[in-house]
């Protein structure tokens, strides 16, 4: 008897069974047309696009930081980078609103040049990027740590600066690790609710005018309509998410990075 396999299957079942039940209920006994209306698909579209952009921003902004942590022990820095993951996410939403509000000089400047974060696409991706950043950093950090430092030392010994070594030696050999971490960050962003319910409960900009992100919409349906529409919309969201994640992993597997 392979006990490790048995325990692993039971652990996996704990995660999978609720999802399967939700799919069954959402497309079966509790199915409600509101749950698969045009509004729901627009919300899912907004969530997918904003999450993908947030993941791309995580890669662009936080990859150097993750590499720095991998090669320089900095416990304080690593602890600080974990803050967005360890505080209630509505706090992140509130913090964003305070920073960009007329209460701060920075906020007054932004508003003076017409940049608004509240109920905008910009506010949405900002919140998603911040909450996904710790997940991205903690996912790609071990990959950088596992990379053979001999390549970097060799490059440094050939006169390359640390920045050039990062750009020309580390990054070109990090595609797979970065892609995997970005998929994890995107998954995290797609499931975010707390911060975006404060910053961008709905987006008041074209082409998503009046559209709420999917997690917010599902919460609205639960609050206003009850279980049926919420469960159906959840089932639709789960199905789309599973398809997207499988497709992305197939792309990753077939990509020689």
């Amino acid at each position: 008897m392979n006990w490790l396999k048995l325990i692993s299957c039971l652990s996996l079942a704990l995660l999978v069974i609720p999802v399967i039940l939700l799919l069954y209920e959402g497309f079966g006994p509790l199915r409600d047309p509101i749950g698969y209306s045009y509004v729901v698909f627009r919300a899912i579209e907004l969530t997918l696009i904003s999450s993908a952009i947030a993941a791309a921003l995580c890669v662009t902004i936080f990859t150097p930081l993750a590499y720095y942590f991998a090669r320089n022990k900095n416990s304080l820095g690593e602890a600080l980078s974990d803050i967005p993951a360890s505080i209630p996410h509505p706090i992140i939403g509130v913090a964003i609103l305070v920073i960009v509000s007329p209460l701060t000089p920075f906020g007054r400047f932004l508003l003076s040049v017409g940049i608004n974060f509240f109920n905008t696409f910009l506010g949405l991706i900002t919140a998603l990027t911040i909450v996904s950043a710790p997940i991205y950093i903690n996912s790609v950090h071990p990959f950088f740590q596992s990379m053979n430092i001999a390549h970097e030392n060799y490059a440094l010994g050939l006169g390359a600066s640390k920045f050039r070594t990062f750009m020309s030696v580390v990054l070109p050999n990090s595609g797979r690790g970065i892609l995997t971490a970005s998929l994890i960050a995107m998954s995290r962003a797609m499931s975010e609710f707390g911060s975006i319910s404060i910053v961008a409960y709905y987006v008041l900009q074209q082409p998503f005018y009046g559209v709420s992100p999917a997690p917010v919409l599902i919460f609205q349906y639960y609050t206003y309509y009850g279980l049926g529409p919420a469960v159906t919309a959840s089932a639709v969201m789960i199905l789309v998410s599973i398809v997207i994640m499988i497709l992305l992993r197939l792309v990753k597997r077939s990509t020689k990075l």
Binding site: H151, N153, L156, G157, L158, G159, A160
Partner: protein, 201 residues
């Protein structure tokens, strides 16, 4: 000329070594005797607890790796995603050096680099040849070779060719080896024993 008089403690291991010579220097010793630690100190990967390192009369003890003009080569040294031709000139281009094609051709011929393609697809011996050639072309003042000759066939001829190329370019070399006969091709030999160095010749 390299002058390294350094002390370093790593856990229970203590290094107290002195190397003061030039040209082709062989470093021998059993596993765990401190050869890699000494090379890492000279190369700037580790910082000595005490002591100093000078290279051609320039103090380099506290300089970062990229500013020491010291190239460090181990069996894993390479830039995997490059192809052979770009790899050969990568270091020289970093330093803004003018590369003479005749010089590159001479090095390729002498070190048996008659292959091409992506570096990550080369055998270990090919990568070691390429790493050594790339270092020579980048013209450092010192090349440290840590067990990076062990997978090269025609070993004796290769070491001889590498020695001649380094001497011609006035590059000092410190290399560690598992082959006792390599020391006969060196200008000087040091032996490390439990972190203590002895100059044999």
């Amino acid at each position: 000329m390299i002058v390294a008089d350094v002390k370093k403690r790593l856990g229970d291991f203590s290094l107290d070594a002195n190397v003061s010579d030039e040209r082709f220097i062989c470093l021998t010793g059993k596993n765990g005797s401190g050869k890699t630690t000494l090379l890492n100190l000279i190369g700037g990967i580790l910082t000595p607890d005490d002591g100093h390192i000078t290279l051609n009369s320039k103090e380099i003890t506290n300089l970062s790796i990229e500013r020491r003009q010291v190239s460090i080569i181990t069996p894993d040294s390479c830039i995997p995603h490059l192809d052979v031709e770009r790899h050969l000139v990568w270091g020289a281009k970093n330093k803004g050096l003018t590369i003479e094609h005749d010089y590159i051709a001479e090095i390729k011929t002498s070190l048996g680099i008659n292959f091409d393609g992506k570096v990550r697809k080369l055998s270990l011996g090919m990568r070691e040849r390429l790493a050594l050639a790339t270092s020579l072309i980048s013209k450092p003042e010192l090349i440290l070779v840590d067990e990076a000759l062990s997978n090269i066939d025609n070993h004796r001829d290769f070491v001889n060719a590498f020695r001649n190329l380094a001497a011609k370019a006035k590059i000092d070399v410190i290399f560690t080896t598992q082959y006792p006969e390599d020391s006969s091709q060196a200008d000087h030999q040091y032996r490390l024993d439990s972190g203590r160095s002895t100059r044999l010749f």
